[in-house]
Symmetry: C2
Subunit: 220 residues, 2 copies
DNA sequence: TTGCAATTCAAACAGTTGTATGAAACTATC
DNA sequence: GATAGTTTCATACAACTGTTTGAATTGCAA
Protein backbone atom coordinates (compact mmCIF):
# COMPACT_ATOMS: atom_id res chain seq x y z
CA UNK A 1 0.00 0.00 0.00
CA UNK A 2 2.94 2.22 0.74
CA UNK A 3 2.36 5.95 0.62
CA UNK A 4 -0.83 6.31 -1.42
CA UNK A 5 0.87 9.23 -3.09
CA UNK A 6 -0.12 8.36 -6.63
CA UNK A 7 -3.60 7.32 -5.68
CA UNK A 8 -4.46 10.53 -3.88
CA UNK A 9 -2.74 12.66 -6.49
CA UNK A 10 -5.08 11.16 -9.06
CA UNK A 11 -8.12 11.75 -6.87
CA UNK A 12 -7.19 15.36 -6.24
CA UNK A 13 -6.39 16.09 -9.86
CA UNK A 14 -9.55 14.41 -11.10
CA UNK A 15 -11.76 16.25 -8.65
CA UNK A 16 -10.22 19.57 -9.59
CA UNK A 17 -10.50 18.99 -13.34
CA UNK A 18 -14.05 17.67 -13.16
CA UNK A 19 -15.02 20.61 -11.00
CA UNK A 20 -13.52 23.06 -13.47
CA UNK A 21 -14.41 21.63 -16.83
CA UNK A 22 -17.15 19.08 -16.20
CA UNK A 23 -17.21 15.36 -16.86
CA UNK A 24 -17.80 15.76 -20.54
CA UNK A 25 -14.41 16.93 -21.66
CA UNK A 26 -11.90 15.66 -19.15
CA UNK A 27 -9.98 12.61 -20.29
CA UNK A 28 -7.81 10.23 -18.34
CA UNK A 29 -4.84 11.81 -20.08
CA UNK A 30 -5.82 15.22 -18.74
CA UNK A 31 -6.05 13.79 -15.24
CA UNK A 32 -2.73 11.98 -15.22
CA UNK A 33 -1.02 15.03 -16.71
CA UNK A 34 -2.44 17.21 -13.94
CA UNK A 35 -1.47 14.65 -11.32
CA UNK A 36 1.97 14.10 -12.77
CA UNK A 37 1.56 10.33 -12.91
CA UNK A 38 1.49 7.70 -15.59
CA UNK A 39 -1.58 6.97 -17.66
CA UNK A 40 -1.77 3.34 -16.56
CA UNK A 41 -1.89 4.38 -12.92
CA UNK A 42 -5.60 5.11 -13.06
CA UNK A 43 -6.53 1.62 -14.16
CA UNK A 44 -4.01 0.14 -11.76
CA UNK A 45 -5.38 1.94 -8.71
CA UNK A 46 -9.05 2.27 -9.55
CA UNK A 47 -9.80 -0.37 -12.15
CA UNK A 48 -11.52 1.97 -14.58
CA UNK A 49 -12.43 5.57 -15.19
CA UNK A 50 -15.98 5.04 -13.97
CA UNK A 51 -14.78 3.58 -10.71
CA UNK A 52 -12.58 6.62 -10.19
CA UNK A 53 -15.55 8.93 -10.68
CA UNK A 54 -17.67 6.74 -8.42
CA UNK A 55 -15.10 6.87 -5.64
CA UNK A 56 -14.90 10.66 -5.86
CA UNK A 57 -18.65 11.01 -5.62
CA UNK A 58 -19.17 8.38 -2.96
CA UNK A 59 -16.61 9.97 -0.68
CA UNK A 60 -18.32 13.36 -0.68
CA UNK A 61 -21.76 11.89 -0.71
CA UNK A 62 -21.47 9.65 2.35
CA UNK A 63 -20.00 12.57 4.27
CA UNK A 64 -23.14 14.58 3.56
CA UNK A 65 -25.46 11.70 4.30
CA UNK A 66 -23.74 10.96 7.58
CA UNK A 67 -24.15 14.55 8.68
CA UNK A 68 -27.81 14.47 7.66
CA UNK A 69 -28.49 11.36 9.70
CA UNK A 70 -26.53 12.73 12.62
CA UNK A 71 -28.72 15.83 12.77
CA UNK A 72 -31.86 13.77 12.28
CA UNK A 73 -30.98 11.34 15.03
CA UNK A 74 -30.07 14.11 17.45
CA UNK A 75 -33.37 15.84 16.79
CA UNK A 76 -35.47 12.73 17.24
CA UNK A 77 -33.68 11.69 20.41
CA UNK A 78 -34.19 15.11 21.92
CA UNK A 79 -37.88 15.01 21.10
CA UNK A 80 -38.34 11.46 22.39
CA UNK A 81 -38.71 9.85 18.98
CA UNK A 82 -40.61 12.70 17.41
CA UNK A 83 -38.86 15.81 16.11
CA UNK A 84 -40.39 19.09 14.91
CA UNK A 85 -40.82 19.08 11.14
CA UNK A 86 -38.65 22.18 10.73
CA UNK A 87 -35.72 20.43 12.36
CA UNK A 88 -36.15 17.33 10.24
CA UNK A 89 -36.23 19.42 7.09
CA UNK A 90 -33.19 21.34 8.23
CA UNK A 91 -31.33 18.07 8.71
CA UNK A 92 -32.39 17.04 5.23
CA UNK A 93 -31.38 20.10 3.23
CA UNK A 94 -28.90 21.83 5.52
CA UNK A 95 -25.84 19.64 5.00
CA UNK A 96 -26.35 19.55 1.23
CA UNK A 97 -26.72 23.31 0.93
CA UNK A 98 -23.87 24.06 3.29
CA UNK A 99 -21.67 21.66 1.35
CA UNK A 100 -22.19 23.39 -1.97
CA UNK A 101 -23.05 27.02 -1.29
CA UNK A 102 -21.37 29.74 0.68
CA UNK A 103 -18.48 32.11 0.04
CA UNK A 104 -15.63 29.78 0.96
CA UNK A 105 -17.25 26.52 -0.05
CA UNK A 106 -18.34 27.88 -3.40
CA UNK A 107 -14.74 28.00 -4.49
CA UNK A 108 -13.60 24.83 -2.82
CA UNK A 109 -12.88 22.00 -5.18
CA UNK A 110 -15.13 19.57 -3.34
CA UNK A 111 -18.09 21.95 -3.50
CA UNK A 112 -17.65 22.71 -7.17
CA UNK A 113 -17.29 19.01 -7.89
CA UNK A 114 -20.58 18.23 -6.16
CA UNK A 115 -22.30 21.03 -8.07
CA UNK A 116 -20.99 19.51 -11.29
CA UNK A 117 -22.22 16.10 -10.25
CA UNK A 118 -25.62 17.63 -9.67
CA UNK A 119 -25.71 19.35 -13.08
CA UNK A 120 -24.20 16.75 -15.36
CA UNK A 121 -25.36 13.24 -14.69
CA UNK A 122 -22.91 10.56 -15.76
CA UNK A 123 -23.70 6.84 -15.40
CA UNK A 124 -21.46 6.00 -12.42
CA UNK A 125 -22.89 8.89 -10.42
CA UNK A 126 -26.44 8.10 -11.41
CA UNK A 127 -25.97 4.55 -10.19
CA UNK A 128 -24.93 5.81 -6.78
CA UNK A 129 -27.77 8.30 -6.56
CA UNK A 130 -30.25 5.53 -7.20
CA UNK A 131 -29.14 3.82 -4.03
CA UNK A 132 -30.07 6.97 -2.09
CA UNK A 133 -33.71 5.97 -1.77
CA UNK A 134 -33.19 3.93 1.38
CA UNK A 135 -31.54 6.94 2.90
CA UNK A 136 -34.50 9.14 2.03
CA UNK A 137 -36.91 6.62 3.50
CA UNK A 138 -35.47 7.37 6.93
CA UNK A 139 -36.45 11.01 6.52
CA UNK A 140 -39.87 10.07 5.20
CA UNK A 141 -40.34 7.96 8.32
CA UNK A 142 -39.27 10.76 10.62
CA UNK A 143 -41.57 13.18 8.85
CA UNK A 144 -44.49 10.81 9.21
CA UNK A 145 -43.83 10.50 12.92
CA UNK A 146 -43.60 14.27 13.18
CA UNK A 147 -46.85 14.84 11.30
CA UNK A 148 -49.13 11.92 12.21
CA UNK A 149 -52.21 13.75 10.95
CA UNK A 150 -50.72 14.18 7.53
CA UNK A 151 -51.33 11.66 4.78
CA UNK A 152 -48.41 9.69 3.40
CA UNK A 153 -48.92 11.28 0.02
CA UNK A 154 -48.61 14.77 1.44
CA UNK A 155 -45.47 13.81 3.32
CA UNK A 156 -43.83 12.41 0.20
CA UNK A 157 -44.73 15.52 -1.75
CA UNK A 158 -43.29 17.69 0.98
CA UNK A 159 -40.08 15.70 0.98
CA UNK A 160 -39.94 15.93 -2.79
CA UNK A 161 -40.44 19.69 -2.77
CA UNK A 162 -37.83 20.23 -0.07
CA UNK A 163 -35.23 18.33 -2.04
CA UNK A 164 -36.36 20.12 -5.18
CA UNK A 165 -35.73 23.57 -3.75
CA UNK A 166 -32.37 22.63 -2.28
CA UNK A 167 -30.97 20.87 -5.32
CA UNK A 168 -32.37 23.29 -7.87
CA UNK A 169 -30.95 26.24 -5.95
CA UNK A 170 -27.54 24.60 -5.95
CA UNK A 171 -27.72 23.60 -9.57
CA UNK A 172 -29.04 26.92 -10.83
CA UNK A 173 -27.36 29.22 -8.36
CA UNK A 174 -25.56 31.06 -11.13
CA UNK A 175 -28.76 31.66 -13.04
CA UNK A 176 -30.59 32.90 -9.94
CA UNK A 177 -27.79 35.34 -9.26
CA UNK A 178 -27.92 36.62 -12.82
CA UNK A 179 -31.72 36.77 -12.92
CA UNK A 180 -31.91 38.69 -9.67
CA UNK A 181 -28.95 40.86 -10.65
CA UNK A 182 -27.14 39.81 -7.52
CA UNK A 183 -30.01 40.66 -5.21
CA UNK A 184 -30.39 37.07 -4.04
CA UNK A 185 -27.44 36.43 -1.79
CA UNK A 186 -26.44 32.82 -2.24
CA UNK A 187 -23.37 33.28 -0.08
CA UNK A 188 -25.58 33.58 3.00
CA UNK A 189 -26.14 29.84 3.28
CA UNK A 190 -28.12 29.96 6.49
CA UNK A 191 -30.57 32.35 4.89
CA UNK A 192 -31.02 29.94 2.00
CA UNK A 193 -31.52 27.03 4.38
CA UNK A 194 -34.07 29.04 6.34
CA UNK A 195 -35.99 29.91 3.18
CA UNK A 196 -36.13 26.34 1.94
CA UNK A 197 -37.10 24.98 5.35
CA UNK A 198 -39.73 27.65 5.78
CA UNK A 199 -41.41 26.98 2.46
CA UNK A 200 -41.22 23.21 2.84
CA UNK A 201 -42.73 23.49 6.32
CA UNK A 202 -45.62 25.51 4.97
CA UNK A 203 -46.13 22.95 2.25
CA UNK A 204 -46.37 20.23 4.88
CA UNK A 205 -48.53 22.01 7.45
CA UNK A 206 -50.85 24.24 5.44
CA UNK A 207 -54.56 23.62 5.79
CA UNK A 208 -54.20 21.54 8.91
CA UNK A 209 -54.38 22.10 12.61
CA UNK A 210 -51.30 23.64 14.14
CA UNK A 211 -48.80 20.91 14.82
CA UNK A 212 -47.44 22.36 18.03
CA UNK A 213 -50.77 21.98 19.78
CA UNK A 214 -52.79 19.31 17.98
CA UNK A 215 -56.46 19.62 18.81
CA UNK A 216 -57.74 16.69 16.81
CA UNK A 217 -56.66 13.47 18.43
CA UNK A 218 -59.74 11.62 17.26
CA UNK A 219 -58.51 9.00 14.81
CA UNK A 220 -54.96 9.87 15.70
CA UNK B 1 -35.85 21.58 -50.65
CA UNK B 2 -37.96 18.85 -52.12
CA UNK B 3 -39.73 16.56 -49.67
CA UNK B 4 -37.82 17.01 -46.40
CA UNK B 5 -38.15 13.29 -46.03
CA UNK B 6 -34.57 12.62 -44.97
CA UNK B 7 -34.43 15.64 -42.72
CA UNK B 8 -37.52 14.77 -40.73
CA UNK B 9 -36.62 11.07 -40.61
CA UNK B 10 -33.37 12.07 -38.90
CA UNK B 11 -35.18 14.35 -36.46
CA UNK B 12 -37.68 11.66 -35.54
CA UNK B 13 -35.10 8.93 -35.16
CA UNK B 14 -32.79 11.13 -33.12
CA UNK B 15 -35.55 12.23 -30.77
CA UNK B 16 -36.66 8.66 -30.22
CA UNK B 17 -33.15 7.34 -29.59
CA UNK B 18 -32.17 10.19 -27.30
CA UNK B 19 -35.42 9.74 -25.39
CA UNK B 20 -34.78 6.02 -24.96
CA UNK B 21 -31.07 5.84 -24.30
CA UNK B 22 -29.95 9.34 -23.40
CA UNK B 23 -27.45 11.61 -25.11
CA UNK B 24 -24.46 9.79 -23.74
CA UNK B 25 -24.54 6.66 -25.78
CA UNK B 26 -26.31 7.49 -29.01
CA UNK B 27 -23.99 8.03 -31.96
CA UNK B 28 -24.70 9.51 -35.34
CA UNK B 29 -24.40 6.00 -36.74
CA UNK B 30 -27.18 4.83 -34.45
CA UNK B 31 -29.38 7.67 -35.61
CA UNK B 32 -28.88 7.20 -39.34
CA UNK B 33 -29.38 3.46 -38.97
CA UNK B 34 -32.69 4.06 -37.18
CA UNK B 35 -33.71 6.64 -39.78
CA UNK B 36 -32.60 4.50 -42.69
CA UNK B 37 -30.49 7.25 -44.22
CA UNK B 38 -26.84 7.80 -44.99
CA UNK B 39 -24.35 8.87 -42.37
CA UNK B 40 -23.38 12.02 -44.22
CA UNK B 41 -26.99 13.18 -44.31
CA UNK B 42 -26.80 14.54 -40.77
CA UNK B 43 -23.96 16.89 -41.53
CA UNK B 44 -25.53 17.81 -44.86
CA UNK B 45 -28.87 18.79 -43.37
CA UNK B 46 -27.88 20.05 -39.94
CA UNK B 47 -24.23 20.98 -40.15
CA UNK B 48 -23.19 19.05 -37.06
CA UNK B 49 -24.41 16.71 -34.37
CA UNK B 50 -24.73 19.55 -31.88
CA UNK B 51 -26.90 21.56 -34.23
CA UNK B 52 -29.17 18.56 -34.65
CA UNK B 53 -29.59 18.27 -30.88
CA UNK B 54 -30.12 22.01 -30.61
CA UNK B 55 -32.85 21.96 -33.23
CA UNK B 56 -34.64 19.13 -31.47
CA UNK B 57 -34.56 20.96 -28.16
CA UNK B 58 -35.39 24.39 -29.53
CA UNK B 59 -38.47 23.09 -31.31
CA UNK B 60 -40.00 21.63 -28.17
CA UNK B 61 -38.77 24.43 -25.99
CA UNK B 62 -40.24 27.35 -27.91
CA UNK B 63 -43.56 25.54 -28.02
CA UNK B 64 -43.60 25.42 -24.23
CA UNK B 65 -42.43 28.99 -23.85
CA UNK B 66 -45.04 30.26 -26.28
CA UNK B 67 -47.78 28.55 -24.31
CA UNK B 68 -46.41 29.98 -21.08
CA UNK B 69 -46.43 33.51 -22.44
CA UNK B 70 -49.87 33.04 -23.95
CA UNK B 71 -51.30 32.10 -20.56
CA UNK B 72 -49.43 34.90 -18.84
CA UNK B 73 -50.60 37.52 -21.30
CA UNK B 74 -54.21 36.33 -21.12
CA UNK B 75 -54.12 36.51 -17.33
CA UNK B 76 -52.62 39.98 -17.21
CA UNK B 77 -55.00 41.37 -19.81
CA UNK B 78 -57.98 40.04 -17.92
CA UNK B 79 -56.76 41.59 -14.72
CA UNK B 80 -55.95 44.95 -16.32
CA UNK B 81 -52.19 44.54 -16.21
CA UNK B 82 -52.11 42.75 -12.90
CA UNK B 83 -52.83 39.05 -12.57
CA UNK B 84 -53.32 36.96 -9.43
CA UNK B 85 -50.10 35.31 -8.39
CA UNK B 86 -51.61 31.83 -8.60
CA UNK B 87 -52.47 32.34 -12.24
CA UNK B 88 -49.01 33.63 -13.06
CA UNK B 89 -47.42 30.65 -11.37
CA UNK B 90 -49.78 28.32 -13.18
CA UNK B 91 -48.73 29.86 -16.48
CA UNK B 92 -45.10 29.37 -15.47
CA UNK B 93 -45.13 25.73 -14.42
CA UNK B 94 -48.30 24.40 -16.07
CA UNK B 95 -47.11 24.05 -19.66
CA UNK B 96 -43.80 22.49 -18.60
CA UNK B 97 -45.45 19.93 -16.33
CA UNK B 98 -48.20 19.13 -18.80
CA UNK B 99 -45.60 18.66 -21.51
CA UNK B 100 -43.62 16.08 -19.59
CA UNK B 101 -45.97 14.35 -17.16
CA UNK B 102 -49.27 12.58 -17.55
CA UNK B 103 -50.32 9.13 -18.70
CA UNK B 104 -50.21 9.71 -22.44
CA UNK B 105 -47.48 12.32 -22.52
CA UNK B 106 -45.21 10.28 -20.31
CA UNK B 107 -44.79 7.77 -23.09
CA UNK B 108 -44.71 10.20 -25.98
CA UNK B 109 -41.34 10.59 -27.57
CA UNK B 110 -41.37 14.34 -27.24
CA UNK B 111 -42.08 14.17 -23.52
CA UNK B 112 -39.43 11.59 -22.83
CA UNK B 113 -36.95 13.61 -24.86
CA UNK B 114 -37.61 16.70 -22.79
CA UNK B 115 -37.21 14.71 -19.58
CA UNK B 116 -33.87 13.47 -20.86
CA UNK B 117 -32.83 16.99 -21.72
CA UNK B 118 -33.68 17.99 -18.19
CA UNK B 119 -31.68 15.14 -16.63
CA UNK B 120 -28.58 15.03 -18.79
CA UNK B 121 -27.18 18.38 -19.69
CA UNK B 122 -25.21 18.43 -22.92
CA UNK B 123 -23.50 21.60 -24.18
CA UNK B 124 -25.86 22.50 -27.04
CA UNK B 125 -28.87 22.25 -24.75
CA UNK B 126 -27.17 24.13 -21.98
CA UNK B 127 -26.44 26.96 -24.37
CA UNK B 128 -30.10 27.26 -25.24
CA UNK B 129 -31.21 27.11 -21.63
CA UNK B 130 -28.90 29.99 -20.82
CA UNK B 131 -30.87 32.18 -23.20
CA UNK B 132 -34.00 31.45 -21.17
CA UNK B 133 -33.29 34.19 -18.65
CA UNK B 134 -34.95 36.92 -20.69
CA UNK B 135 -38.01 34.74 -20.85
CA UNK B 136 -38.04 34.32 -17.07
CA UNK B 137 -37.66 38.05 -16.59
CA UNK B 138 -41.14 38.51 -18.03
CA UNK B 139 -42.54 36.29 -15.31
CA UNK B 140 -40.51 38.05 -12.65
CA UNK B 141 -42.00 41.32 -13.87
CA UNK B 142 -45.53 39.99 -13.78
CA UNK B 143 -44.99 38.62 -10.30
CA UNK B 144 -43.68 41.96 -9.09
CA UNK B 145 -46.74 43.70 -10.47
CA UNK B 146 -48.96 41.11 -8.82
CA UNK B 147 -47.25 41.46 -5.45
CA UNK B 148 -46.20 45.11 -5.18
CA UNK B 149 -45.70 44.81 -1.42
CA UNK B 150 -43.22 42.03 -1.83
CA UNK B 151 -39.51 42.70 -2.09
CA UNK B 152 -37.70 41.86 -5.29
CA UNK B 153 -35.60 39.31 -3.46
CA UNK B 154 -38.65 37.45 -2.22
CA UNK B 155 -40.14 37.43 -5.70
CA UNK B 156 -36.99 35.98 -7.22
CA UNK B 157 -36.83 33.32 -4.54
CA UNK B 158 -40.46 32.44 -5.17
CA UNK B 159 -39.84 32.16 -8.87
CA UNK B 160 -36.79 30.03 -8.19
CA UNK B 161 -38.69 27.69 -5.89
CA UNK B 162 -41.60 27.34 -8.31
CA UNK B 163 -39.27 26.30 -11.11
CA UNK B 164 -37.39 24.07 -8.68
CA UNK B 165 -40.48 22.09 -7.74
CA UNK B 166 -41.66 21.73 -11.31
CA UNK B 167 -38.36 20.70 -12.83
CA UNK B 168 -37.29 18.46 -9.98
CA UNK B 169 -40.60 16.65 -10.03
CA UNK B 170 -40.20 16.02 -13.74
CA UNK B 171 -36.60 14.98 -13.43
CA UNK B 172 -37.08 12.72 -10.43
CA UNK B 173 -40.59 11.51 -11.13
CA UNK B 174 -39.42 7.93 -11.23
CA UNK B 175 -37.72 8.21 -7.87
CA UNK B 176 -40.75 9.85 -6.25
CA UNK B 177 -42.95 7.05 -7.52
CA UNK B 178 -40.59 4.45 -6.13
CA UNK B 179 -40.09 6.26 -2.82
CA UNK B 180 -43.82 6.67 -2.28
CA UNK B 181 -44.49 3.12 -3.53
CA UNK B 182 -46.82 4.50 -6.16
CA UNK B 183 -48.85 6.56 -3.71
CA UNK B 184 -47.90 9.84 -5.40
CA UNK B 185 -49.87 9.88 -8.62
CA UNK B 186 -47.75 11.63 -11.20
CA UNK B 187 -50.21 10.81 -13.97
CA UNK B 188 -52.68 13.29 -12.50
CA UNK B 189 -50.90 16.31 -13.96
CA UNK B 190 -53.41 18.87 -12.81
CA UNK B 191 -52.99 17.69 -9.25
CA UNK B 192 -49.24 18.13 -9.55
CA UNK B 193 -49.69 21.60 -11.03
CA UNK B 194 -52.05 22.51 -8.22
CA UNK B 195 -49.60 21.32 -5.58
CA UNK B 196 -46.68 23.24 -7.05
CA UNK B 197 -48.72 26.40 -7.53
CA UNK B 198 -50.14 26.14 -4.04
CA UNK B 199 -46.77 25.80 -2.34
CA UNK B 200 -45.16 28.50 -4.47
CA UNK B 201 -48.05 30.83 -3.69
CA UNK B 202 -47.59 30.25 0.01
CA UNK B 203 -43.90 30.93 -0.35
CA UNK B 204 -44.69 34.26 -1.99
CA UNK B 205 -47.51 35.43 0.25
CA UNK B 206 -46.68 34.12 3.70
CA UNK B 207 -46.24 36.68 6.44
CA UNK B 208 -47.88 39.43 4.46
CA UNK B 209 -51.33 40.98 4.07
CA UNK B 210 -53.79 38.87 2.13
CA UNK B 211 -53.41 39.59 -1.55
CA UNK B 212 -57.05 39.10 -2.54
CA UNK B 213 -58.14 42.08 -0.47
CA UNK B 214 -55.17 44.41 -0.19
CA UNK B 215 -55.62 46.84 2.63
CA UNK B 216 -52.60 48.92 1.83
CA UNK B 217 -53.38 50.98 -1.25
CA UNK B 218 -50.97 53.71 -0.33
CA UNK B 219 -48.89 53.82 -3.46
CA UNK B 220 -50.99 53.17 -6.50
C1' DT C 1 -33.75 15.27 -73.91
C1' DT C 2 -30.39 18.05 -71.91
C1' DG C 3 -28.42 20.45 -68.20
C1' DC C 4 -27.99 21.85 -63.60
C1' DA C 5 -28.64 21.90 -58.98
C1' DA C 6 -29.89 19.39 -54.90
C1' DT C 7 -29.42 15.24 -52.58
C1' DT C 8 -27.60 10.70 -51.43
C1' DC C 9 -24.08 7.51 -50.97
C1' DA C 10 -19.84 4.60 -49.81
C1' DA C 11 -15.65 5.24 -48.18
C1' DA C 12 -12.06 7.17 -45.86
C1' DC C 13 -10.15 10.55 -42.63
C1' DA C 14 -8.13 12.28 -38.53
C1' DG C 15 -8.37 12.31 -34.06
C1' DT C 16 -9.54 10.68 -29.51
C1' DT C 17 -10.85 7.49 -26.18
C1' DG C 18 -10.31 3.97 -22.23
C1' DT C 19 -7.71 -0.06 -21.51
C1' DA C 20 -4.01 -3.69 -21.67
C1' DT C 21 0.78 -5.24 -21.81
C1' DG C 22 5.24 -6.40 -20.36
C1' DA C 23 9.38 -4.61 -18.96
C1' DA C 24 11.61 -1.55 -15.56
C1' DA C 25 12.02 0.55 -11.03
C1' DC C 26 11.20 0.51 -6.49
C1' DT C 27 10.42 -1.29 -1.53
C1' DA C 28 10.52 -4.05 2.25
C1' DT C 29 11.61 -8.67 4.20
C1' DC C 30 14.53 -12.25 5.26
C1' DG D 1 22.27 -8.16 -0.40
C1' DA D 2 19.24 -11.42 -2.80
C1' DT D 3 14.29 -11.97 -3.40
C1' DA D 4 9.41 -11.41 -3.84
C1' DG D 5 5.81 -8.29 -4.29
C1' DT D 6 4.25 -3.87 -5.39
C1' DT D 7 4.15 0.06 -8.17
C1' DT D 8 5.48 2.81 -12.22
C1' DC D 9 6.37 3.48 -16.91
C1' DA D 10 6.40 3.85 -22.13
C1' DT D 11 3.96 2.11 -25.53
C1' DA D 12 0.70 -0.17 -28.21
C1' DC D 13 -3.99 -1.58 -28.94
C1' DA D 14 -8.49 -1.70 -30.66
C1' DA D 15 -12.41 0.54 -31.18
C1' DC D 16 -15.20 4.42 -31.79
C1' DT D 17 -16.13 9.23 -32.78
C1' DG D 18 -17.91 13.28 -35.78
C1' DT D 19 -16.75 15.00 -40.09
C1' DT D 20 -15.26 15.33 -44.97
C1' DT D 21 -14.80 14.00 -49.70
C1' DG D 22 -15.91 13.22 -54.30
C1' DA D 23 -18.46 10.46 -57.10
C1' DA D 24 -23.18 8.70 -58.11
C1' DT D 25 -27.93 9.55 -58.26
C1' DT D 26 -32.04 12.00 -58.33
C1' DG D 27 -35.50 15.51 -59.62
C1' DC D 28 -36.88 19.39 -61.93
C1' DA D 29 -36.66 23.24 -65.45
C1' DA D 30 -35.58 24.70 -70.05
Amino acid sequence: MASDHTRSAILAAAERLYADRGFGDVTLRDIVAEAGVNLAAVNYHFGSKDELIAELFVTRSIATNRERLRELKAAEEEGGGRAPIEVILRALVGPTLRGCLGPENQRSTAARFMIRASIESVPPIRRIKNREIDHLRKFAGAMRRSLPDRSDVDVYWGLNFALAMAHHTIRESERLTKLSEGKCDLDDVEDVVARVVSVATMALTAGRTEQKAPSKVAAR
